[in-house]
Structure formats: structure tokens, C-alpha cells
Subunit: 228 residues, 2 copies
């Protein structure tokens, strides 16, 4: 495995400084139409590196990402995604998948390296690994990998925004068709697509969000959070 | 529903400026032990507001968050979370849940307001809502709400980090016990817990991440991404 990147891009492609986290979140909107300008390779590297830093249960990292930039491949992906125009328009579309079996089959490596790096007590590593595998055996693995892949994909989406790109997360696709077209193993869950590029048209008006009192509760379900 | 917050906290509680997105991601580590210092209320408000800005399919926002700060309640939550010490130590623990039924029952409101705000074409709003409900009827709702809640919870975790707090996302809990203790409806999925506070002890060594070539592919599953 590898260490954190020592140095990441700290400016946007236009030379502007990166936005604050709050601005990244507030400015992010799902982009409907993309211009063809490609995402520079060094930015794709940085966006993927940041996504790879996402946390996961026992550091098992069940996420995998297929980066689709080729014109013909984006058209194939568009067909498997109910013909959404943005899939073929965006210069880069990420297929985010989660591995339900590989994550268990290759867990040894994670636990051995965790002990070598002293992230876990080497004396207890076998017990720790057994605990992890016992825990996973109680989980619905489709739910579990979907949860985890979304941590990394959300990080990726916000990373792209922080570098000044526009994004569109998508859940409208035929998983079987996506698997077939891109050689994805049966055991994988196709979790989401993420288009990355530059918007071609102004964004649609903001659709609003539920008030905090509706979605956040104080101490107990149903007791509305009251904002200061 | 409400608009985006016009003004969000743009400094940390110690007066320092917010970190760049890349630093937020690189500095974030799962905290094992927390100090008792509370999270100031205005920061909890900002963290919740940012989480609420997360995107969701058709803007349906299936996430709900129970903010647990009371000592006795954190001890009750700890019991339902395999007695993990950090649940009782952290001054604030968020229970993140997803609503499988309410999200459909209350969809009208989202579509009507979307049309009023001209986020969707008012002429097409009925067809759009039908399409959404047809789509949801094809989804495994436990998977769907887990995906969505993790978008908002990841945003929340990174928001807390950007304000200089430490966090620990957790998946080790007994969902039935959490539901019983906090009055959560049967139809809900308990997706994750997020502890927010200040670390009490230095972080464990970084456990490493898979190389990008292992988790990212070029155009097709299995063709390793080669970083520049």
C-alpha cells in the first residue's frame, strides 16, 4: 500500500486558490450539460488520490473506479445509463463499483500492513481480523459496499468541485449492462456514476432543502433541532 | 423548504482560517479517544447545514440525523454500539438514519416546490414525479437510502474536519437497539454513527491505502490507472 501523497495540487487550473470547504459545498450543483474540455490528467490524479483517502471499516477500501474518457466508451456507457446526454457530453465519467467478495479475499494484506505500520497492535492482529470477518458476515454486503463506495465517491465529487470542476452524480443506469460493457465482475455492485467536467449551460434554479428542524433531531427521533 | 444559508462560519473556533479541501481530506483520521470539550452550538448548526446541502436523487433527501449530546443518552447509545468508549467520550454523536417509506410518502412536497422554484419544468412535474416513483420501485430501498445517507454523512464529517474538529465514523452498532433507545421508526435504516469532538490522544499511525493502480482503472475494469 502507499502513503498519503506528500504534495497535492493547491491551485485550480486557472491559477485561482482553492475554495473553502463551505464554498465547495454551497457552490456544488448537479450539472445537466457539459462542455467537451477535458479534465487535465494531473487533476484527475489528484481527485482520485483524494477519493482514495476516504475512511472505510477496518481500512478494507472496497471501492474501485473505472475512469471513462474515450468517446466511444462514453457512448457505450450512455446507452447503459438510459441515454442520459451528460454521460456522452462530459469529458470524464467515473464508474464507481464496490467489491463484495474481493474485499474479503484480500483482507490479509490490509491487516498485515496495518500491523507493520503499527496502526494496529501486531500481537492482536489475528483477533482483530477475525472480528472484522465476523462483523462482515453479519452485514448485507450490497448495503455495506454501497455505503463505503459513497464515502469515497462523495469525497471525489467534492475534490473535483474544490479544483473548480463541475460534476453530476448519477444513479440512473442498468447495472447489468454497465457490468457487461466494462468487464466488471459479477460479484461487484455498480454503485453510481460521476461525470466530471465544465458546465455548458447555466445551472437550473436551486430546488431548496428541507429545514434543519425537519431532518435533524435533538436527542431523540422526532424532536426538532432548533437552530441558533 | 429553505434556501442555502446566506452566510456560514468562515473561521475555526480558534480564529484560524479554514483549511483547503485537500488538507481537510489528508488530515482527517478516525479518532479513537475524545476529550469532553463540547462542540459549540453555532458549529453544530453549520455542520448540519452543510450536510443538508448534499445532493440526492430527485432531491428527495432521505437522510435524518439525531444529535446526541446528553451524557445519559450517549451512555445508552454506547451500550447499543458494542460499548465502544468513543461513543460515551465524544461530546456529540450523530445517529444517521434513512427513511425508506417517508421519502415516498412526502415526495409531493419536493416535486411541487421544485416546480415553484423552476428547478423542474412545471408542465412536466407530474411525469417527472411518476418517473421518480417508478425508479424507486425498482431499487432495493435499504441500498438506496444507505447510499444517500452516506453522501450527507460524508459531507458532515468533512465539514466538521474543515472547522478543526475531530471525527469518528462508526458502523459497529445493533440497529434494533439504537432504534428502540431513540424512538426511531421501524421503516428506517440506521446507517452509521458519527462522533464529533476533539481528540484526547495522538492518532494511531496511518494504515496506508491501496495504490491508485489497484483501485482505479482506465476505460475498462482491470486495466490499471497509471498516475502521471
Amino acid at each position: 500500500m502507499h502513503n498519503q501523497p506528500e504534495k497535492l495540487l493547491e491551485v485550480r487550473p486557472d491559477g485561482k486558490p482553492l475554495k473553502s470547504f463551505a464554498r465547495v459545498v454551497l457552490d456544488r450543483r448537479a450539472t445537466s450539460h457539459f462542455a467537451p474540455d477535458p479534465v487535465p490528467r494531473e487533476y484527475l490524479d489528484a481527485i482520485l488520490e483524494l477519493a482514495a483517502q476516504a475512511p472505510s471499516g477496518y481500512n478494507l477500501q472496497p471501492w474501485r473506479f473505472i475512469v471513462v474518457q474515450d468517446d466511444a466508451n462514453r457512448k457505450r456507457l450512455q446507452k447503459a445509463a438510459f441515454n442520459q446526454p451528460k454521460v456522452a457530453e462530459a469529458p470524464c465519467v467515473i464508474i464507481a463499483i464496490g467489491m463484495k467478495e474481493e474485499v474479503k479475499a484480500r483482507a490479509d494484506e490490509v491487516f498485515i500492513e496495518g500491523a507493520q505500520r503499527r496502526s494496529a497492535d501486531p500481537e492482536k492482529i489475528e483477533a482483530y481480523q477475525k472480528q472484522a470477518m465476523d462483523f462482515l458476515s453479519t452485514m448485507k454486503m450490497d448495503v455495506w459496499v454501497n455505503r463505503h463506495v459513497m464515502i469515497a465517491l462523495t469525497t471525489m465529487m467534492l475534490a473535483a468541485e474544490s479544483y473548480g470542476f463541475d460534476t453530476a452524480p448519477m444513479e440512473g443506469f442498468d447495472p447489468a449492462a454497465v457490468k457487461k460493457e466494462f468487464g466488471i465482475p459479477d460479484e461487484a455492485e455498480v454503485v453510481a456514476l460521476l461525470a466530471i467536467g465544465r458546465m455548458r449551460e447555466p445551472e437550473k434554479p436551486y430546488p431548496g432543502r428541507f429545514e434543519l428542524a425537519r431532518i435533524a433531531f435533538t436527542e431523540h427521533y422526532g424532536r426538532p433541532w432548533s437552530q441558533r
